[in-house]
Structures are given as C-alpha cells and as structure tokens.
C-alpha cells in the first residue's frame, strides 16, 4: 500500500457549461475520517464525481491515495469504495449475489468475492437477509446493502454519500458505529453529509465547500477553536447600532430566542471589544457566556461569512 495522502487536489475547476461548479479547489488531507460539508449547490456531488472519475477534470490535478484520477482512473476505482446517496440496486438479485457481483467487477476472483460478500453482509447486519431479493429490502436494509457493496473489495478509501439518509435513529446510530469501526481498522473514510452531527460524530477532518470553493478545511477540533469564539449574549436596550458595529468589525451575529444573540467573534478579536462597543452604543449586556462551539456553528460561520 502506498503511503500517500488520502486526497490531494491542486487548483481543481469544473463547470457544467457556463455554470462553475468547482473553482480552483486545492487541498490535501493526510488521514481521515474526512467530512465533506456544504450547502446545496456547493459542489460536493461534483467533487465526488471527479474523485471517482465519473467526470473528467477540466483544470488542475487530483490524486486519490496517491493515484492520479485522470491517468489512473481504473486503479483509483479499484481502491475506492463508493456508497451512493440515492437508491441503487440491481433488481431481481439477492443481496449476496449483488455484493459478490460488484466485488467481482472490482477484480476479485469469483469465489473470493462470494465469500467476502457473505462476510460484509454479516458485518453490516444483513447476514440473515442475504438470500432475499434486494427488491424486497426496506430502505434501511438497502442503505446497509450500499455500504456492504462499497466494502466488498476491501477498499483503501470509502466515499459515503449521505450514509444515514432516510434511516431511523437506531439505524443511523448503527451506521455511524460501522463508519467509526471501518475507520478504526485503517480504511480511509470520506463522508459527505448535510447532517452535521453525523460528521461531528465520525470525522476528524472536515472540508466545507461553499459556492464551488473551499470555505474551510482542517482538523475539526482545531477549526472549531481557531476560527472564532462563540458567545451567547442577552442584550437590553436598542441593539441595532451595536450589532451593526460588531458586524463591521468582522463578527457574525445570529438571533436566538427573544433578547438572546449568538456571537461569532473572530479569534483575533478580544471579547473586550464587545463590551467597549456596548458602552459606546449604550446597550446593556445582561448575559455573556462563552459557548461550546459545534460543527453547526462552524458551518454557519464559514458559510454565512461567504454569503
């Protein structure tokens, strides 16, 4: 196995006709699990399409596990497992046949693929249903089946597109446990999801895309600490001018319940500034609490900032 970065993108751009989906994306991720976040239209799906070689790169260079996507597409597809977002299956076959077939298409010998298909189906919790036609599977079972087929050839990297979509809370928990277990066993994982707690629970690294560009990227814990400090405020008095001045200083303010505000204070600014401006604008701060920042806050901050 090559000791390479999981992802290396250099100045990647892609446009559908005149619409730019990705614009000059450069990033490098050493180890996962990696979370890929972004609002609708941010370019997540396009990035996944490019990583799998479904779309040809128009500009720039990209490597997955050290293999060039444009020149070594076949090899990339051999070492990558892909769990698509939407329902995907081959009708008329049972779970084990489908999984084994896709293992065989990845380059596994037929008997090995069949043996491994049984193993991964047990692993994802479909052991008892492996001989049932996939047409009769529930939504949750199909979700597990998609995970099983992504793992059948023991990939070095799995791309999971909305892995918990449509699952009940227990199913979601189980899938997240599986993702953590897969990652703990040395398989690199990239999770694209709009469910932020899923990313927060499973990923160490995060890439936030917005409008086709990287809005933030790095270690999740560090990003949450370094980019900003989060405070909860309760104000008395007319806050409009005070809030405008905070925004002019580079802060982001979000209204919570009546009288309460969420303040994203850039890390280079001191909390003293808030009190100074409050004095100048004759606003009373009745409550000032440093809050524990969550991924949701980071997301809102970086995406909101871009917008």
């Amino acid at each position: 196995m090559r000791q390479s970065k999981t992802l290396e993108l250099r100045n990647i751009s892609y446009a559908y006709g005149r619409i730019k989906a990705l614009s000059g994306i450069s990033l490098a991720v050493d180890r996962g699990p990696i979370g890929l976040l972004g609002p609708n239209g941010a370019g997540k799906s396009t990035l996944l399409r490019l990583l799998l070689g479904f779309l040809s790169i128009q500009e720039g260079e990209a490597k997955v596990m050290g293999y060039d996507i444009a020149r070594e597409t076949k090899r990339v597809r051999q070492i990558v497992g892909y769990m698509p977002e939407d329902e995907s299956y081959i009708p008329g076959v049972d779970g084990v046949t489908l999984t084994a077939l896709l293992g065989e298409l990845s380059g596994m010998p037929r008997q090995e693929a069949m043996k491994r298909a049984h193993d991964v189906l047990f692993y994802v919790g479909l052991g008892e249903s492996r001989y049932r036609l996939v047409d009769t599977y529930s939504k949750g079972m199909r979700q597990r089946l998609k995970l099983a087929q992504a793992l059948v050839h023991d990939p070095q990297l799995v791309l999971l597109d909305e892995p918990t979509s449509g699952l009940d809370p227990q199913g979601r928990e189980e899938i997240l446990e599986l993702i953590k277990d897969i990652a703990a066993h040395g398989v690199q994982v990239l999770v694209s999801s709009h469910i932020l707690p899923d990313i927060e629970e499973t990923c160490k690294e995060v890439i936030i895309l917005n409008r086709g560009q990287v809005a933030a990227q790095g270690n999740l814990q560090q990003l949450k600490q370094l980019n900003f400090n989060l405070y909860e405020l309760r104000l008395k008095g007319e806050p409009t001018r005070f809030l405008n001045r905070l925004q002019a200083e580079g802060c982001q303010v979000e209204k919570m319940e009546e009288g309460y505000w969420k303040l994203y204070l850039p890390s280079e600014l001191s909390a003293r500034l808030v009190f100074k401006l409050a004095v100048e604008e004759k606003v009373q701060i009745r409550h000032f609490l440093k809050s524990q920042s969550r991924l949701e806050d980071l997301f809102a901050q970086v995406v909101g900032e871009e917008e």
Partner: protein
C-alpha cells in the same frame, strides 16, 4: 438484527485486472433471464423450428424410406444453401428473435437506469465499453444459440446422415455464410434491443418499442407497396432488409429487385444509430444525479 457480530476484517487477496471484466454482467443477464418461468418455456419452444429443420435433413437423406409420405421432393427437403436461408431468415424465425429480445433485452439497460445501478457499476474499474460488451454478450448468447448453433449443427448432421463430405465439397463456403449471417443478426438485434432499452427507464415501454418498430416497419412497407409496387420500398422493412441480405449471403436471388448492398447499408446504418444512442445515454453524468 444484530450488527457487528464480527468486526471489520480486511481481505487478504489481490485485485486483478481482467480483459473479461464484462463477463460477470453477461452471466448475470443470462441468469436473470432464466429466472423467469415463462421465458424458460419460450426459450425451449423456440428450438422447435430447428428440430423440424433437423428432421428435414434426416428425411432428405432417407427419401426412399419416406416416399409413402411425400409427393416428389419438396423444396423443404432439398438441402441446399436455400434451406439455411429459409431457416435463418424466415418471418417466424425473425419474430422469435424479436420476442427473445423483448424477454432478455428490454430491461437490460432500462432497469439499470431505473434503479440507478450504473453508478454501482461505474464506481468499479469498468469502462463504458466493458459495460456494453457485457450487455451485448448476454443477447448474443441467446441469438447465437438460435442461429449459429443450429446452422452449424445442420451442416454437421447433413454430413453425418449422408456419411460423406460431398455436401461440404459442393458448398465449402456455407459454414462461413452461416457464421457471417448469424453475426450480422446478433449485432443487429443486440444493438436494436439495447438502444431501445437505453431510451427508457421502463422496460415495458421498451418491449412495446422493440416489437412495435419491427412490426410497424413491415406494415408501412405493406401499405406503400400495395399502392406503388416499387421494389425499393422493401428498404422500409427491417424484416425484408434482413431477408435481402440473407439471400445474398447464401447465394440466392433476393426476392425484391433491390441491390442487397442497400439493405446491408440500412442495417449497418441502424447499428451505427444504435451505437450513438448507447454512447449518449450511458453517460457519466447519468451516473450521479
């Protein structure tokens, strides 16, 4: 449902690249076809014409024994290249192939489009051409079983029943003609069925199209021919184009006074059209919506 009874385990084997990467798709297509009981019935009954023709070959070598049943020697029992042309291009045989395409081919791509299976396939080291070869090979298996295999067996049994090689010495090119025409049938019908299968996500509509276009082309010919009696109108019919080319390949006079090369050009044109439809419909942008 218990989960994670076993933790994640790595696979110790080595992934290999194979030039037969498409073969699992072919195997699956054949397996899925035989899973349908009605298809199995149709499949085995579609060999009845071949058995009747085989009986004809046997009788032709034992005319003396069967003279009490026959008046003279009907053309059916004259084993010449025309015998092969009749088997491989009769209206009934071509309809059998069309029905075979409906049973096996209508869902081959339509179902993959409908259930988003393309993204599962193309996330593997599988190229578009591998995917198409896998699908074409599925249809070829059935078409060749009905055309090439009986055609060659007829020659073999004719030699066995005759007990000499006179027939093959008289028509040494016949095996090549059987192979060539069977391949033309295979490429044409596989392209025809797959292109239509790629045009819809609903295999029922595809079935209607496969049957409808074939029959409609013949009906349109019939309507125009009744009014204008121009032999070139035969070019409108898929069936007649196949029969014209079959006549030429088996050294017979075509029924309609139209150059057989034109019929061949039309069939090749339809195959090229099918190729472009497949190229357009099996696109990477279809892979992830």
């Amino acid at each position: 449902m218990t989960i994670r009874k076993k933790g994640y385990t790595h696979w110790e084997g080595e992934l290999k690249e194979s030039f037969l990467v498409w073969f699992p798709l072919t195997r699956l297509g054949i397996k899925l076809a035989f899973q349908r009981r009605f298809f199995r019935l149709f499949f085995f009954s579609s060999f009845l014409p071949a058995l009747i023709f085989l009986a004809g070959i046997y009788i032709s070598e034992r005319l003396e024994d069967f003279r009490f049943m026959l008046k003279g020697s009907p053309p059916f029992l004259q084993i010449t290249p025309n015998f092969f042309k009749i088997y491989l291009s009769s209206g009934l045989f071509l309809v059998l192939l069309v029905l075979m395409m409906i049973f096996v081919g209508s869902g081959l791509i339509a179902d993959d489009l409908r259930f988003n299976a393309l993204q599962l396939y193309f996330a593997r080291p599988l190229r578009k051409i591998d995917y198409l070869v896998g699908k074409i090979a599925t249809l070829s298996f059935f078409i060749l079983l009905l055309s090439l295999v009986p055609g060659l067996l007829f020659i073999l049994f004719k030699l066995l029943f005759a007990g000499n090689l006179v027939f093959l010495r008289t028509y040494p090119w016949l095996p090549l003609a059987v192979i060539g025409y069977s391949l033309l049938l295979t490429l044409f019908f596989a392209g025809y069925a797959l292109a239509l299968s790629a045009l819809s996500r609903n295999s029922r509509y595809v079935s209607l199209m496969i049957f409808g276009i074939y029959i409609a082309s013949d009906i349109v010919f019939g309507i125009f021919y009744q009014n204008f009696h121009h032999p070139y109108l035969a070019l409108l019919s898929i069936k007649l184009n196949l029969q014209q080319v079959a006549a030429a390949i088996f050294g017979q006079k075509p029924f309609y006074q139209v150059p057989w090369e034109l019929s061949l050009a039309i069939l090749l044109g339809l195959m090229v059209g099918a190729y472009f439809i497949l190229q357009r419909r099996i696109r990477s942008v279809e892979v992830v919506k």
